[in-house]
Symmetry: C2
Subunit: 357 residues, 2 copies
């Protein structure tokens, strides 16, 4: 409810809206703490209402604390129902977080031009980008679980083992330690496939000397974390070691540069310069990182084009990589909290291609 | 490429479009077979083009067979780029599968009224609803893996064990047998939480006598499967057994009724009648089932409001349930293929609350 109050202040007092409609799943979770809401209507004058279908009605009544719960009955059209409620509340300027083109049209039709409708998802991101204490506790825990999974990855990667068997061991370990699931589809991309940043996880058998990019995340409650290490199945070659060291240095320097008020693009530039100076600039084919929280990819974005600035309470990944088709790929990634003094790593583990824990 | 040809025939020859823009992730996977495309433009006169960002460019060139691959460069605006290409192809009537309100506006702006834009996602669903042989092979395999997971669930559910530890054992078993991941977030909802259809999976310790709803799915390649059994931690009570038998009978009768040309709402009605006749109608709080394929919830929908008809090649779930707050919930679900003679179950396992395998 405190989060709803912050949104009210931002949207109603500072921007002149008198209603806010939330439909995005992660936003709903953020504001209601309940995973089964279909939408949430926050009127300036009146009680905030969660709309749920029959499937989740009993759960909403039990868990949707502090909100009025409205059942969307069989045959009722959701956008029509919302429009009627908006009229009842006499809302004249309604902010919405996100709507499909179809829902937008249906809602606008129901409102018959009597209420202005405006997309304001950026406003919600202003809130969600800065994690509160409760959120940080959950992301930190997710990071710990992820680090436990990575420990197992270093043990499981061996010649002859299939990519998905490595994933099995990692996910099992994370679950046993208390993970609520994976934050995204586990990546164990070996050999030629390691050169693809989103190489997935297949039935391929790992070969001796392969680079294996392991990109994993545990979820804790609904919060996520993200971590990558690259492991060699066997003894790393001189070239593998050399490139790993460049990526490691890029990651370390970028991490050192993370601080409140820094521009996200400048952090990207720090890592990119290390890789460019080493002569591998063209092989760093993606941005440096992204926000992490209820979703695995959130603002702020750390890339060359980013216009984001960093703030205390942002949680972001720092994940430079070098991908060379034919040779393979190396990526190193941690989930990091932006703080006043030094940034804090939520994921922890050695950076070498073979590791002693 | 065969699927693109079918879409061409439906959209261009039968409906007069001369271009189709695909942006939905699952649709992209369906048409390209490649998991990293950002969008796909199919012109009536010209080569179909996959648009990818730098991160996935090398992988697209290696795996996006039969398509032209276009790199979206740094700083390029995707919808502007698409608009320019639409003009080059002289497309006058462009179908799109799905667009956010924002992308719709940006695309329309880029097209400057010279091309008509029309949402045609239903057309894509007409194709995706009917699975081809290759798809059926993958969903069947996902069903086998899911059944293996359920076998383990019956062994793992015991008093004192945490919900997420049961999930750990299930997911590990599915992975070890070859699963590519979970089809959705595993549900292990015990005791009071079993009365919530989407009760999730928490750190709660299962108590003796608890009903435990286990709703799981393995993914194989990118295809999914869905299965629920309800297990009692200990010896089932007479009331638990009685309600389980009602749900089982509802599921069995609905399964028997599944055939091509049946109306989806009629299948729902078969199951609902069994539960209503037994006096539990008000506790069956959701529809009977949904399609399964690349996504876990797809058309056709089996519910009281559904306007869908069933066709050979549809894959759907049959999942009646009875949920009584304070007592708990029982749901039984299989993933089923609609076929000419008898429907085929892709998920298999006993229906009793305690099982001998």
């Amino acid at each position: 409810m405190k989060r709803v109050e912050v949104l009210r202040r931002l949207a109603f007092e500072k921007r002149g809206f008198d209603g806010f409609l939330i439909v995005n799943e992660a936003n709903l979770l953020y504001f209601t703490g309940f995973p089964g809401a279909t939408c949430l209507l926050i009127p300036k004058a009146g009680e905030s209402t969660i709309y749920v279908y029959g499937t989740n009605y009993e759960q909403a009544k039990a868990e949707g604390r502090g909100f009025n719960v409205e059942l969307v009955k069989r045959g009722e059209k959701l956008m029509e129902k919302i429009a009627a409620q908006v009229k009842d509340f006499k809302i004249k300027k309604l902010a919405v977080d996100m709507l499909s083109f179809e829902n937008y049209r249906n809602l606008a039709k129901g409102l018959r031009g009597e209420t202005k409708l405006k997309a304001q998802n950026k406003l919600v991101w202003e809130l969600r980008k800065v994690k509160d204490e409760k959120e940080l506790e959950l992301v930190r825990k997710a990071g710990e679980l992820t680090s436990e999974g990575m420990k197992v990855a270093f043990e499981a990667v061996k010649p002859g083992v299939r990519e998905y068997d490595v994933a099995a061991e990692i996910e099992y370990a994370m679950r046993r330690k208390g993970s609520w699931g994976t934050a995204f589809e586990t990546i164990v991309a070996s050999g030629v496939r390691s050169a693809f940043p989103h190489g997935g996880c297949t039935e391929r058998k790992i070969q001796k000397g392969d680079l294996v990019v392991v990109d994993i995340g545990a979820a804790y409650q609904c919060y996520r974390s993200d971590m990558t290490r690259t492991i060699v199945a066997g003894k790393p070659s001189a070239k593998q070691k050399k490139i790993c060291e460049i990526v490691r240095l890029a990651q370390e320097k970028a991490f050192q540069a993370v601080k409140p008020k820094a521009r996200a693009r400048d952090i990207d530039a720090v890592a990119r310069k290390v890789i460019e100076d080493a002569g591998y600039g063209e092989y760093f084919v993606h941005g440096l990182g992204h926000g992490v929280g209820l979703e695995i990819h959130e603002p702020p974005t750390l890339s060359q084009e980013s216009k984001d600035g960093l703030r205390t309470g942002n949680v972001v990944t720092i994940e430079p990589g070098i991908y060379i088709v034919g040779f393979g790929g190396i990526r190193i990634e941690d989930t990091v909290l932006v703080r006043r003094r030094k940034a804090e790593k939520f994921t922890k583990g050695p950076y070498a291609l073979e590791a002693e824990w």
